[in-house]
């Protein structure tokens, strides 16, 4: 009964949040695009026609076609009006419906982010737990050095090194593209290594804190074996900060993959957003920002519910 009410109240709270996020993000991204220097008709024409065909006449044509000479407020109101009807409009550059572009690009980005996260957890969880069980031990120090190393190297460099090792020299995997599961491995590994560098430390700290907590001593005193203490109490307690951190990381990751997407020619949303900003493709920027904003809301919801599942006491105190 309690479980259920928690679920619905969380959902209702987040639904209100979603609507607020949609409107605020739409207005802010619109305002920011307006504030950027440069004439947007010229930028859009450049994005469409390329430097061999783009000229002042094509920019003027774009201005008329898209109604860029209308007052800014009229343009914003018309976007909000369409949004109320769940219509994100069309891309100024490609002319295709934003919803369609987002579906493809968001799908590829989520796939890459999810795979990257999975790789990072496969590395970070064992490494973090091993390091956290013996803080200050040789493994802890070694994993700290590795973490600093992978955090310090730009993702771009990690990607190129992996391409050289796994694709060019051994030909085990393809260099770049997106046509099959084998294409996902290298970008996911590039992402995963960078993420694991931080999350392994978060896990290590959470585990080491749990290991030194008084309740752990109590559980050992009451007669539980060290193995059972670890699996029943330590990991459960250590999981809380880790889940919260991973949730934040995933959202950050989806927009943070820009470089990895361009290095590996992956048709994702980060790459698309950067191009949309360069091309002053306002509807596309708004649509992308909106999608990312809503995803934060959904992720928060998932993190809330997961944390509640791990530690049901939280909702009573809240």
């Amino acid at each position: 009964m309690l479980q259920r009410s928690v679920f619905w109240s969380a959902l209702a709270g987040r639904a209100v949040q979603a609507v607020v996020v949609a409107v605020v993000v739409g207005i802010i991204s619109f305002a920011m695009m307006q504030a950027l220097p440069g004439d947007s008709a010229y930028r859009i024409a450049a994005g469409r026609y390329g430097y061999d065909m783009m000229d002042a006449a094509s920019a003027d044509q774009v201005r008329t076609e898209l109604g860029l000479d209308q007052p800014v407020v009229v343009q914003l109101v018309s976007w909000l009006g369409s949004l109320a009807q769940f219509d994100l409009g069309k891309s100024s550059v490609s002319g295709s419906p934003i919803a369609e572009e987002l579906k493809t690009q968001m799908g590829y980005s989520l796939l890459l982010a999810g795979a990257g996260l999975l790789v990072s957890l496969l590395i970070a969880i064992p490494v973090g737990i091993m390091a956290g069980l013996k803080p200050g031990g040789w493994f802890d120090r070694f994993s700290l050095a590795a973490s600093i190393f992978f955090r310090a190297i730009p993702a771009f460099a990690i990607g190129v090194v992996l391409m050289l090792g796994f694709a060019v020299h051994t030909k085990l995997l393809p260099v770049a593209g997106f046509k099959g599961p084998e294409y996902l491995v290298l970008p996911a590994l590039t992402l995963g290594l960078g993420l694991a560098a931080v999350s392994s430390r978060v896990i290590r700290d959470a585990v080491s804190e749990a290991m030194s907590a008084e309740w752990r001593l109590f559980s050992r005193t009451k007669g539980l074996s060290s193995k059972l203490t670890l699996s029943r109490h330590v990991l459960r307690n250590a999981a809380l900060p880790v889940v919260a951190y991973v949730g934040v990381q995933l959202a950050f990751l989806i927009e943070g993959v820009v470089i990895i997407e361009s290095v590996f020619a992956w048709p994702g949303i980060g790459h698309a957003l950067v191009h949309a900003i360069f091309g002053r493709d306002v509807p596309m920027v708004q649509g992308t920002a909106l999608a990312l904003g809503l995803m934060y809301v959904v992720l928060n919801l998932i993190v809330d519910l997961t944390c509640h599942g791990i530690d049901p006491r939280r909702s009573k105190t809240a």
Binding site: A46, G47, M54, A56, S94, A265
Partner: protein, 507 residues
Amino acid sequence: MFKPLSIAILAASLFASPIAFSADKTSVKISAPWEINSYDPAVSGFAFHRLQVMETLVDADTKGVLIPGLATEWSATEDGMSWTLTVREGVKFHNGTTMTAEFVAKSLITALAKPGMLKKAPIKSIEAKDGKILIQMEKPFSALPALLTHNTTVISAPASIDAEGNAVAAIGTGPFTVDTFTPPQGLSLKRNDDYWGDKALLESASYLATSRAETRALIAESGDADLVFNLDPSGFAHLKDVDSVTAMADAIPRVVSLKLNASHKFLDDARARQALSMAINRQGIATAITRFPEASATQLFPPVLSEWHDKDLKPLTNDVEAAKKLLADLGWKAGDDGVLTRDGERFKLLLRTFPDRPELPLIATALQDQWGEIGVELEVSVSSYSEIPKGHKDGSLEVALFARNYGLTPDPIGTTLADFGKGGGDWGAMGWDNATVIDALDKISQTSDASVRSENIATVVKAVHDELPLIPVVWYQHTVSVAKDLKGYVVDPLERNYGLSKVSWGK
């Protein structure tokens, strides 16, 4: 004894076969920097044309000679005011619709309404009549057939456009049809078995847009793509040593040049522009940055554009002392910090360029240094390339650095007319109206008489060379990496066509 072995071999070959045979030998993979954003030929015609999904009415061979495409013949009336093109019979679009003159006219009218090559011709009307296309002109324009080779004039099926006029599919007539399209990165193609001409030798092809040059070089080396276009200088040098590919470079009519605002008070005298040209060490830039020393420009139009290249023209030279003297003659004196001043004003210019062609910002900084030697202070702004046409229009542009393709069509008159004609052009002269040149360009565009043409081309070339409204820096080389076993690939210097239908695998 025999059986287990043969089973093992069979099993091994089953595992090996997808990679070794079927995938590699009936398909070709292409990688290039250009993303394909849309189905609209005005936006993505370059890709659909190069990949042979769509075709033009007039075609051109690798020497730039016009040959029949979707039109079998074309001719103009005596006065040059009207063109008639005969539409090829028995051509089917990829969706099975038969191509008629009406559909062709509709496709051209759509193209004319959007930015593209047809806009460069004085076209009054386009209509279909008795299976032919009739194009009425406002004034004679002899290069119309050459413009009709351009990728913004490709013919697409009526079903490519929805009721609101949006491009919703890429339905052409070429030897390949679109299988899947994942904008902006990928396009995969299938052979069109109903093609009207010689059918493609391979069953399928795929295209991957890879914006980063480092990735493209690695893709070429690993064999993930068989044809890789536009390699960066270091990637090209490296691929020359890789056994599995052939790295080719071919001169193309693209030129890195500086556009100068000739109405700017520092630049309105031709001697000032000549001095700036003399201060440029083109050989150094071509050796160290673009890495093709033979491609340092001695005049605007490169040798590959044979009709417009004049072998007897005195080459542009690097002479810092002569440059300093020219500027001294114009009243410029070196100030305390070495920068020239005149009437209390410093010789300071702002150069606009863009990063889409990675060598441009590098060349800009080299120029900053070289012009510094003669006391000209150059500030470099790297931004969107649209800042250049914008600065041309509002008059704020001082200097711009870009790469201009004079080979968009086999006859560059459409481009040169736009660049050096009346009022100059966004990517051409600025504040430089030369009546002789304008008159000569008009004559070239209207005549089909070879001697009148060459005489007037010589006039234009000489005036542009002497007065330098544009200062050429280096000519371009088109670089391609081709898998060793891929047969039949020919570099197209006009970058119109990848020639995929003619490539095949062999030893």
